[in-house]
């Protein structure tokens, strides 16, 4: 009985847990602390470019079937552009001046998060 309850709990948890390999590679777009969009990258047939305007800055985000990249930004430090293309779950691109972040989740056996 206890084992069955535990198994059910784990099964439920896996549905919420987005870091591991239970779903397709997905990009989450966060603006000023709020998750505004979730895009399934694996489903993209061709790359998509979108403009994100936040906190007085405009960023160009390109989404690919295998990752995401901020290809242009009018922020002062350009760290978001220097990050380059991210391709694995756990990686993120952050633009502090624009208060924007793009996180990758899901998509196979990637790490839960990446430091550095």
């Amino acid at each position: 009985m206890a084992a069955a309850v535990l198994a059910a709990a784990v099964a439920c948890a896996l549905l919420f847990w987005r870091g591991g390999g239970t779903e397709d590679l997905t990009a989450e777009i966060w603006i000023d602390g709020e998750r505004t969009q979730t895009v399934s990258l694996s489903a993209l047939r061709e790359s998509q470019t979108r403009q994100i305007t936040s906190n007085g800055h405009t960023l160009t985000l390109t989404l690919f079937a295998d990752g995401a990249q901020i290809t242009a930004s009018d922020c002062g430090n350009q760290y978001c552009v220097q990050t380059g293309k991210i391709t694995r779950a756990g990686q993120s691109i952050v633009c502090v001046p624009a208060r924007v972040s793009v996180l990758l989740v899901g998509g196979g056996d990637g790490p839960d998060l990446v430091i550095g």
Binding site: A8, V10, G19, G76, K85, S101, D112, G116
Partner: protein, 359 residues
């Protein structure tokens, strides 16, 4: 903001419950994700458990509170009051006092390789203000005359809480190399106090992981490949961690290019120049404990400055008493992993690095 967050959290719980089709959710598995922009970085948290929403509130408030204490670029911070004192003694509260003392401890332990008084030098490079330039040798020499922990004077209050800080004229403090570690310690304390069974906190190269993943396995924490993004394979390897801190300092994290040369943000306190130590990234790993997130943050910067040989000597001398392990990435594409991490570290195949275990 908080009400919106609360509503979003509750809605997420409701959606999760119905989507899971599990009837009732195990309250320990509810998850809340938050991002807080503060302290010149973003704090990204995943928090599980029945207290996840309230723990998220507490962490957000705590981050803003600590930002008010420690941030040099905020004119109204407690640290800015010290920096503006022009040589006069300034009374500071317990937390700033503790962090300044910690900074002194790690400076002493690393022979000055960790140095919070480099603030004017960092500003001269434009790393603080994000207006980059290469300062002249003469300018650096002048600025270096006011750096070093001997220019920071700490006198404890007799009450045992807080104390008085006096800076020599011209000396300025930046806590950017240690404050994020303190914040991760504070987040870990909230996780413990709120009985958060599992979760992760990530901020500016600092990571804290609590418990295990929902599948019962340790959290998989990738270490960023320091190579340029075009050639990067994302990770050099993955650490399996539970109840642990890991902090990476890398020359690739913040830099600018001028006249074909790259200048990164980790400055050598002896020269005032970007440290040319043969390392491109240093990751310090430790189990959760009192102040160990702060320690990892300070050591990752210091050991980067010290370079491979000195960093490994330091680990051999202090690793056991301070309970930390290392992953070093060198300019010549070697990854050095100290033996305490041997079973926790999985190298990334095909990453082009040579992996060595160090004892």
């Amino acid at each position: 903001m908080n009400q919106r967050r609360l509503a979003a959290g509750l809605a997420a719980l409701a959606v999760a419950a119905s989507a899971a089709g599990c009837g009732t959710i195990d309250p320990d598995e509810a998850m809340e994700s938050i991002q807080v922009f503060a302290m010149d970085t973003v704090i990204i948290c995943s928090i599980y458990g029945e207290n996840s929403v309230s723990a998220a509130f507490d962490i957000e408030e705590e981050v803003y509170r600590l930002e008010d204490l420690f941030t040099r670029t905020r004119e109204d911070s407690a640290l800015s009051a010290v920096n503006a004192s022009a040589g006069a003694p300034v009374e500071v509260g317990a937390e700033l006092w503790t962090l300044l003392q910690d900074a002194r401890t790690y400076s002493d332990l690393t022979g000055g390789a960790f140095d919070i008084t480099l603030a004017p030098v960092s500003s001269a490079w434009g790393f603080t203000e994000e207006s980059y330039r290469v300062p002249s040798q003469q300018e650096l020499e002048e600025l270096l005359s006011g750096t070093g922990m001997e220019h920071l004077h700490l006198t404890a209050n007799t009450s045992g809480e807080g104390g008085t800080v006096t800076l020599d004229p011209g000396t300025q403090i930046d806590l950017g190399g240690i404050a994020k570690g303190y914040v991760s310690d504070a987040a870990a304390a909230i996780f413990r106090d709120m009985d958060v069974p599992r979760g992760t906190v990530s901020l500016g190269g600092n990571v804290y992981v609590r418990g295990t993943r929902p599948d019962g396995e340790p959290w998989m924490v990738g270490i960023q490949d320091p190579a340029q993004p075009e050639t990067s394979n994302a990770c050099i390897g993955v650490l399996s961690l539970s109840d642990a801190f890991a902090v990476t300092s890398g020359s690739y994290q913040r830099y600018f290019e001028q006249d074909g040369k790259i200048y990164h943000h980790i400055l050598d306190p002896q020269t005032g120049m970007p440290a040319q130590s043969g390392l491109v990234s240093v990751t310090v790993v430790t189990q959760e404990g009192e102040g160990t997130g702060t320690m990892c943050d300070a050591l990752s910067t210091a050991l980067f400055v010290m370079g491979e040989e000195q960093a490994l000597d330091f680990w051999r001398q202090q690793g056991e008493s301070l309970h930390f392990e290392l992953v070093l990435v060198t300019e010549d594409d070697r990854v050095l992993v100290t033996d305490g991490l041997e079973s926790a570290f999985t190298p990334q195949e095909g990453s082009g690095y040579t992996f060595e275990t160090v004892s």
